[in-house]
């Protein structure tokens, strides 16, 4: 019996674990190793160069531009997405018309969630193509024709070095809001109703209830969302690679770390250098996740 159990465990785990170690764990570990070499990726020989790659990175203007652009996304994406998603979740939950104060779901709740979530299930290239055309910089472009109708001038969008990164940021936000709306809505649903009833009996209106009861109870979910969105912002690749000129342009205004890794690793024959960039990305991700989890930590409310 005991023996059969051990065989069963090994039999079930061996293949998945092998696959996972070969294709996931080992490349991650190898990246740390290659980061210390001058490997080109083409020849099989390489020399150990210590931390030379990292020193070069700190003086690589393109990489520093990429870091700066990722920082803009890192701040903008979580902030705007969470605020919009919370705002919409608030409207979904308290915007209903009938009855007294308190929590009242809005009519058409299901439809809104269905619609808002849609970008989440489509692939990034599909979204990138659609927005690349919407952002057509001529006056006939869709975004420009709408803005022209309401009296605002036309913009260059992705063709304008000052606007391109913010256009990318907008598409990221546009695609993410639905997911976090559904997430926040699900978390609100999990709050027991007697908490709301108690607030109602105490005479709290819908705004007071939302800001003083719902929001604090959602804190854990907001915090998790922040970390996930930060990782998304640091990992941006497909949108930039498909949508922007170059990619990474115009004038490197949309360069990001992932794009730099791809270009150095696969086009410029600098696999060691690209691995060093990956290691930097890893530590930035780690530090930001830790900071977010620590700084935003509050008393956990159990119910």
């Amino acid at each position: 019996m005991k023996h059969g159990q051990a065989r069963f465990i090994v039999g079930f785990l061996a293949f998945p674990l092998l696959l996972y170690v070969v294709f996931v764990i080992s490349p991650f570990i190898q990246a740390f190793h290659y980061a210390l070499t001058d490997w080109t990726g083409v020849s099989s020989e390489f020399n150990y160069v210590g931390l030379q790659n990292f020193q070069n990175l700190m003086q690589d203007p393109l990489f520093l531009t990429a870091i700066k652009n990722n920082a803009v996304l890192l701040i903008g994406l979580p902030l705007v997405t969470i605020m919009l998603a919370l705002f919409f979740a608030f409207l979904l939950n308290v915007g209903g018309s009938a009855g007294g104060a308190g929590v009242q779901g809005i009519r058409g709740n299901g439809f809104y969630k269905l619609a808002f979530f849609l970008p989440q299930v489509l692939s990034v290239p599909v979204i990138a193509v659609i927005w690349a055309v919407i952002f057509n910089p001529t006056a006939d472009g869709m975004a420009n024709s709408v803005l022209g109708r309401v009296g605002l001038g036309s913009s260059g969008w992705l063709a304008d070095p000052n606007l391109a990164l913010y256009s990318v940021l907008w598409v990221l936000i546009w695609g993410s809001v639905g997911f976090y709306l559904v997430l926040f809505n699900a978390a609100m649903t999990a709050i027991p109703r007697d908490i709301f009833e108690a607030a109602l009996i105490d005479g709290a209106g819908r705004f007071t209830t939302f800001f003083n009861v719902t929001m604090p109870l959602l804190w854990d979910t907001i915090q998790t969302s922040w970390v996930y969105l930060a990782i998304l912002a640091l990992d941006v690749y497909a949108l930039v690679a498909v949508m922007t000129a170059g990619p990474g342009g115009p004038d490197n205004s949309t360069q990001v770390i992932a794009l730099q890794i791809a270009q150095n690793g696969f086009q410029f024959g600098r696999a060691g250098y690209a691995s060093a960039m990956g290691v930097v990305l890893f530590f930035i991700t780690l530090v930001i996740a830790l900071i977010m989890l620590r700084v935003t930590r509050r008393e956990r409310i159990e119910y």
Binding site: G4, Q5, I9, G11, F12, L17, Y20, V22, F23, V24, P27, F28, Q30, A31, L91, L92, V94, G95, G96, S97, G99, G100, V103, G105, I106, G108, Y112, A115, F117, L118, V121, S123, P125, V126, V129, A132, V133, I134, D140, G141, M142, S145, W174, V177, F179, N185, A186, T189, A190, L200, I201, T224, Y237, A238, A241, V242, I261, S275, G278, T285
Partner: protein, 305 residues
């Protein structure tokens, strides 16, 4: 956190408000009556506004697949003078048929293998005590947090040295490996919630461990398998980063779309591009509309944990 997320629940909350609450609340609600209507109208206006912002680009892309390139850019807001079904034929000529076939083969193989290996791993980790159990679990769960771009350069050379670049089996195995963390994490939580008594009864009746898993536990885990299965279908169908580095000679649909966009910048056959886009979008949207509760539950369930 449970794996299925119940949507549409908030409507019920108000109905259950006790009578005393209504009585005490009248003072607040009397002057709030007009405010209520205003809030309601405002809410709908904002929510409809965002729905338009989300839905119009997709509907527009569907319509654009039946227009000429000149119409797409010259009069973006009008319907086509005559429906250009030929866009789909020229998309097919540009390789969309091959991309579609590649996507179907890789996703079918990838999802079946992911579900099989993922639930086997999750089951053993959730139900059997042995040394190294926690370590293996955290090894998988940790994989959800790593940035893929840290691994992408070495991964390319691993796949190359195995002779698996631009092959179906290479892409399938890589998809499975990168889908395992979330699948194991999700199914692990699910197997924990299932009762042990049925499996114990089957064991007493002399069923082997393997038989208990396939004939007792897997059927009981169907709701979880459905959620995570749809999640994996969508995730692998939409995968772009892995194939664009590992399968440049056997492009999947997402890659095909990206390269079609690049080539239309000088070829100018935008109708064909949007036809290709429609081919990529429609199956996903149909799956989403049919299974949207499982999709939303599956995608958000893991985050809430």
């Amino acid at each position: 956190m449970t794996v299925t997320v119940n949507t549409g629940e908030p409507d019920k909350v108000d109905n259950a408000a006790p009578p005393s609450g209504k009585a005490r609340g009248t003072a607040a609600s009397r002057d709030g009556k007009v405010g209520d209507v205003a809030v309601n109208v405002f809410s709908h206006a904002v929510l409809v506004g965002w729905s338009v912002l989300v839905l119009v680009p997709f509907l527009w892309a569907l319509v654009a697949s039946t227009k000429t390139s000149r119409e797409i850019f010259g009069s973006p807001w009008s319907l086509p003078d005559s429906v250009q079904w030929s866009n789909f034929a020229s998309a097919w000529d540009k390789g969309v048929g091959d991309y579609l076939l590649n996507s179907i083969v890789v996703v079918t193989g990838g999802v079946i293998l992911t579900m099989l290996l993922g639930s086997m791993t999750a089951y053993v980790l959730a139900r059997y005590e042995f040394r190294g159990n926690r370590l293996i679990y955290y090894l998988f769960a940790g994989g959800m947090m790593f940035p893929v771009f840290l691994a992408i350069v070495p991964l390319f050379f691993v796949v190359q040295s195995l002779g698996m670049l631009s092959t179906y089996h290479g892409l399938i195995l890589v998809y499975v490996a990168y889908s395992l963390p979330f699948t194991v994490f999700f199914m692990h939580a699910f197997f924990r919630t299932l009762p042990t008594s049925v499996a114990e009864a089957a064991m007493i009746d002399g069923a082997s461990h393997t038989r208990v898993f396939f004939q007792v536990m897997l059927p009981m885990a169907k709701p979880g398998l459905l959620s995570i299965g749809i999640f994996n279908v969508l995730g692998q169908w939409n995968q772009f980063v892995l194939p664009s580095f590992l399968s440049s000679e056997k492009p999947v649909l997402a890659q095909g779309i990206a390269s079609l966009l690049a080539s239309q910048r000088y070829e100018g056959d935008w109708g064909a591009l949007f036809a290709a886009l429609t081919v990529a979008m429609v199956p996903v949207v149909v799956v989403y509309l049919v299974f949207y509760r499982q999709v939303q539950g599956g995608l958000t369930g893991g985050t809430l944990k």
